[in-house]
């Protein structure tokens, strides 16, 4: 598996062009969602520790990503997770 360089934890991932993200009223330009792209060796616990300082808060991330996660122990490299 290719080793991925740790991304900037505060970086906003590319989730589409600006025009794709804007509605007629420009409402999506207000989107403050923080995203995290999963890299090798990461777990929800580690991601929670990175953003919240406390790994025990990982269920917050799991709950916010139930549309893409079925099991908190199974996350994939490259997956983009919402950080509430």
């Amino acid at each position: 598996m290719a080793e991925k360089k740790n991304p900037d934890p505060w970086a906003i991932p590319d989730i589409g062009t600006e025009s794709e993200n804007k509605s007629d009223t420009g409402a999506d330009s207000f989107d403050a969602t923080q995203w995290h792209e999963v890299t090798k060796g990461e777990t929800l616990w580690k991601i929670a520790e990175q953003y919240y300082g406390d790994g025990n808060l990982y269920p917050k991330i799991f709950d916010a990503n139930r549309d893409v996660l079925k099991d908190p122990n199974k996350i994939s490299i490259g997956q983009k997770l919402r950080i509430p």
Partner: protein, 199 residues
């Protein structure tokens, strides 16, 4: 003596003709003044809210026109009325355009800002439950963010109230303060600042 009497009669006649001509203009002048009043009243419905200075200028012009009418200067009333009516229509159009522009701005803000506020609230709530804060966020930073969130909520409620009262310009002005504060709090929390909040 007879000649003096003739002069007197002619003078009286000319005077009567002049007065007659002026009185003849009174009706049309009154109608013109009424028309101006109606045009200005219509224009001021939106202009007094969105273009108050221009609405004030229309009021002054109507007052001047009414003054001319009261002084019997009907010809001047008839001459000035079309200009003021045209100005009133121009102001009405400009006010309608301003209203549309402000409405669009407010719609964008009212659909977008709650998402920003919710994102901040969610992060503040989660960090408040954390036993140890992440790198770059101290307990003082979190306290500042909480205070900022309270200010944002208060200012946003005030903006929403202003919009409900129809004061869109005031609502947008208050929302601008909310945007600045929200960008500040998002930065404190190491969260991304949305495009719309960047100055």
């Amino acid at each position: 003596m007879r000649r003096a009497i003739n002069y007197f009669v002619v003078t009286i006649f000319i005077g009567a003709v002049m007065i007659g001509c002026g009185a003849g203009d009174k009706g049309p002048a009154e109608t013109a003044l009424k028309g101006v009043d109606e045009a200005v009243t219509t224009a001021k419905a939106d202009a007094s809210k969105y273009l108050p200075e221009q609405a004030g200028s229309l009021d002054a012009q109507v007052a001047a026109l009414r003054d001319k009418f009261n002084k019997g200067d009907y010809k001047a009333v008839l001459a000035d009325a079309p200009t003021i009516t045209a100005k009133a229509q121009e102001v009405a159009s400009a006010a309608a355009a301003k209203k549309a522009e402000l409405t669009k701005s407010w719609e964008g803000l009212s659909s977008g800002m709650p998402k920003v506020v919710e994102a901040i609230r969610s992060r503040v709530d989660i960090l408040s439950q954390s036993k140890k804060l992440p790198k770059g966020i101290s307990s003082e930073t979190l306290a500042q963010a909480k205070a900022g969130l309270n200010q944002i909520t208060e200012q946003w409620n005030a903006a929403t109230e202003a919009s409900k009262d129809g004061n869109l310009a005031d609502a947008i002005s208050k929302a601008s303060s909310v945007k600045v504060k929200a960008a500040e709090v998002l930065t404190l929390l190491k969260m991304p600042v949305p495009e719309a909040l960047k100055v």
